[in-house]
């Protein structure tokens, strides 16, 4: 009984055969296939934005007032609604890509999403659901912070040490879930949820200790990281930093592992059919542990990016909602590293743009969360999008991912 179906990946063989093959599926040109593969995500985004627009209209006091008098002056209601939506989305758009500052904010905020999105996507490939991004991120950020403020090392070495520490911290936290899954069958969804909260409470505790706090301070904010352990910010004065470049490297590395390495092949075999993988002689238990470990390590690097690049000190809120946003990123990116990159840039942009949007149009930043939720719904239920836009299915509808509780 397979519980894990993941056929989002296009057939690995491009099969460049002669087009004489009488017009079957293989003859579809590459650009066409690309179009088909991005169609659902793009429509999902547009639909989510449309629903967000309705939400903006019917929570805007001016619009509500105009709509209440719709029959006196219907044009007024419509124009007010248009204005409200146009202003909000314009501010959102300009806040995301409208200026040099906006773009660097977008890239900075997408950095942890890339790492965490890769983490979730990598686990997906192995048939594992890593819902524990937050916990792993905290573990990574904590270890990186501790290494940064405890040791005194010259700049480039210090950064490397902290990054390795963050990876190890996240890998341990993710690895616990992997070990539990491999040895006892405890489902990783339950264990990673629990590990998230354990990490959060443990961080709360650590932020009362002298090892983390500046002298004579009781606020739960760690000592700022020394300059030697910070990731260089590159346009001076912006929050964009070297972490973004590292994230791009991570995209390439994960892509390479999945596409070119034997090990990546084994991970995907595990994800497609764990029983078959076992009968083929793969050590599935070890694979599960290592997959969760690497996934955790990637999330840990997101934590390093947060403390070493963006916030420069450790707080209890370091993880925010990144671990959950990352699930949306991985789903929108169809668990493909390149797809994850673009999905993370999109969400980073939405988050960066939402701040000026709230400041200028008093549309709360939380609308981005709603839009993200709607995007996941439409991506995870392609049937829904096809039903709305009356698109014919190109192949059998396969669930993106299916898992069940530990047995």
């Amino acid at each position: 009984m397979t519980d894990v179906v993941d056929r989002t990946e296009p057939a690995p063989e491009p099969a460049p055969e002669e087009p004489a093959g009488t017009g079957d599926a293989d003859a579809v040109p590459a650009w066409r296939r690309l179009l088909i593969s991005v169609r659902v995500p793009v429509l999902a985004l547009l639909t989510a934005l449309a629903i967000g627009a309705i939400l903006i209209i019917f929570t805007n006091p001016d619009c509500l007032y105009a709509w209440a008098r719709f029959f006196n002056d219907p044009m007024r209601a419509l124009s007010r609604s248009w204005d409200a939506v146009y202003d909000a989305y314009r501010a959102l758009f300009l806040g995301a890509v409208g200026s040099k500052h906006a773009i660097s904010e977008t890239l900075a905020l997408s950095t942890p999403l890339i790492f965490c999105g890769l983490s979730v996507a990598f686990a997906f490939k192995g048939g594992l659901f890593n819902i524990g991004g937050n916990g792993q991120l905290i573990a990574g950020a904590t270890l990186a912070t501790w290494l940064a403020i405890t040791f005194d090392l010259p700049a480039p070495i210090h950064v490397v040490v902290c990054l390795i520490g963050a990876f190890v911290g996240g890998a341990i936290w993710g690895g616990i879930a992997g070990v539990l899954r491999a040895t006892t069958g405890a489902h990783e969804v339950i264990t990673t949820i629990m590990l998230n909260f354990i990490a959060l409470r443990f961080l709360d505790y650590l932020l009362t200790l002298e090892a983390f706090l500046p002298e004579g301070q009781a606020n739960p904010v760690s000592e700022p990281l020394p300059d030697s352990a910070r990731l260089t910010r590159f346009p001076e004065g912006e929050r964009l930093n070297l972490g973004f470049i590292l994230a791009l490297v991570a995209v390439v590395v994960v892509w390479w592992i999945l596409r070119r390495s034997t090990w990546g092949f084994q991970v995907q075999a595990l994800g497609i059919n764990a029983d078959a993988a076992r009968y083929a002689g793969m050590r599935t238990g070890l694979l599960i542990v290592v997959t969760m470990g690497v996934a955790g390590g990637l999330a840990g690097l997101a934590g390093a990016g947060m403390v070493m690049g963006i916030s420069t000190s450790l707080t209890a809120g370091v993880a925010g909602n990144i671990g959950f946003d990352a699930i949306a990123v991985a789903l929108l990116g169809r668990s493909n590293p390149i797809g994850v990159l673009f999905a993370a840039l999109l969400f980073g942009g939405l988050q960066a743009g939402s701040v000026p949007m709230q400041a200028n149009t008093s549309t709360p930043v939380d609308i981005v969360t709603v839009i993200q939720a709607l995007i996941i719904v439409f991506v995870a239920a392609p049937m829904l999008v096809r039903a709305i836009y009356r698109i014919k299915a190109t192949g059998p509808d396969t669930p993106t991912f299916t898992s069940n509780w530990g047995k």
């Binding site: 929570t59 659901f129 949820i193 629990m194 709360d204 029983d275 959950f324 939380d366 969360t369 995870a380």
Partner: protein, 435 residues
């Protein structure tokens, strides 16, 4: 996936086997059973020894612990701290010995007794040389446990029918919001309650629709609902509450003393001076247990959760049973969420569930997908939570964060099978596709 690890078990079974060559499966089952019984016995002894050593011998002799008991003419129960710790430790070790020697039939009950005894010894140790309101503590425990237990029952109802529900958190949050707003607009907590329950049911229905009709992975669907609920409630609260102030006035249910029962010393004020949510809990736990395990409806729900194909074969409409069961679960989550506003602080705050839905999930797992077990787990977690607020006063060396961590750690141990394995319904999380 059957991740049934063969468990090579490096330690040879010490029990001498009569027929060494062919063990039949019954003997294997018996062996596993005995081993588990032995582990439990050893666990009791370890806990007993720790209790004896730490709470008994660890406390200075001659110090008394005074527990305030409300309702009994404000008397106090005074016990010598050291003696209590020693007594409890010895009793628990004795119970462990009995368990090892011949085993208890009702291990769940014995475990509950052990937990309560050790908790009491701990309190006596922490309170030594001081006063402490025991009834206040118990009351807080019950209040903290109520949303957890109700939320856990939401999980039980969904998962017994085979739909994984990690969206308890989102449903609770949405219901808390809906309850607060409707209650404020109508000026009546009852209206708020009805609307809150409806909010829970609506999100649950969405969860059911996504996972049954559209076959979205149930964990993804649950995650979506959590994110959506957090986003929409925060959005509406930030957008609307500053403009329309009467949307969040903080309407609450009054406490409601049950006439004669509330006069009983200690138990009366703890159990029978509460609001409607706590009484609903008292009624719902036995009712849901009865309905799930003693009625035709319950049999159908469980059949659909364990083996939908078989249920379908005998003519049960799998989809209908699942939809209804999940919607009912949503009503429970709605009750749990409404408690947070209407039954407690009144007004809504952003992300006010603060992970309680996930503790409820933990309580459900710890309680083995069973309403009574879930209530027990919720009480334990509620105790840990209320203890956390009290420990600061008592100046114990345990950081409060570790108490808040306890539910999650315990659940981790339980799912890993270290402390009695908790098993999910067999078809939990699997979409059912009719042939």
């Amino acid at each position: 996936m059957q991740t049934q690890v063969p468990s090579p078990d490096p330690t040879p079974d010490p029990t001498p086997e009569a027929g060494p060559s062919h063990l039949d499966s019954a003997a294997l089952v018996l062996g596993a059973h005995q081993r588990k019984a032995r582990i439990v016995g050893i666990a009791y002894i370890v806990v007993g020894v720790l209790c004896l050593w730490w709470f008994g011998l660890g406390s200075e002799s001659g110090l008394d612990s005074s527990f305030g008991l409300a309702g009994a003419g404000d008397t106090t129960l005074t016990v010598p701290a050291r003696t209590t710790g020693i007594t409890v430790g010895v009793v628990v070790i004795f119970l462990g010995g009995l368990q090892l020697a011949r085993g208890f039939r009702r291990r769940g009950a014995i475990t509950t007794i052990v937990v309560v005894l050790v908790a009491f010894a701990f309190l006596a140790w922490a309170t030594r040389g001081a006063d402490f309101s025991l009834s206040g503590m118990l009351q807080t425990t019950l209040q903290r446990a109520t949303p957890l237990a109700l939320g856990a029952m939401a999980g039980v109802l969904c998962e017994r029918a085979g739909i994984v529900n990690i969206a308890i958190e989102g449903m609770m949050l949405f219901a808390a919001f809906g309850g607060a707003v409707a209650g404020s607009v109508a000026g009546s907590p009852w209206a708020g309650l009805v609307f809150g329950l409806a909010c829970g049911a609506v999100l649950a229905y969405a969860h059911a629709g996504l996972s049954i009709r559209f076959q979205v992975d149930q964990i993804i669907s649950g995650t979506v609902i959590n994110i959506f609920a957090l986003g929409i409630t925060s959005y509406l609260a930030t957008r609307l509450f500053p403009v329309y102030e009467n949307l969040n006035k903080g309407v609450t249910f009054q406490q409601w003393e049950i006439p004669i029962l509330s006069e009983i010393p200690l138990i009366g004020p703890v159990l029978f001076e509460n609001n409607i949510f706590v009484y609903a809990l008292f009624v719902l736990v036995p009712f849901v247990t009865w309905a799930l395990f003693r009625t035709k409806w319950g049999l159908r729900v469980r059949a659909v959760g364990e083996h939908p194909r078989a249920a379908d074969t005998v003519g049960i409409d799998v989809y209908k049973v699942r939809y209804r069961s999940v919607a009912l679960g949503g009503v429970m989550a709605g009750l749990a969420g409404s408690y947070l506003t209407l039954g407690s602080v009144g007004s809504f705050e952003q992300n006010m569930t603060a992970g309680r839905g996930f503790i409820a999930l933990a309580a459900m797992i710890f309680g083995r997908w069973n309403p009574v077990g879930a209530l027990g787990a919720a009480l334990l977690f509620g105790f840990a939570e209320s203890l956390q607020t009290k420990l600061a006063i008592l100046e114990t060396p345990i950081p409060s964060q570790f108490l808040l961590m306890a539910p999650y750690v315990v659940t981790l141990f339980v799912v890993a099978g270290f402390v009695g394995r908790s098993r999910a319904p067999a078809a939990d999380g699997q979409p059912y596709v009719k042939d």
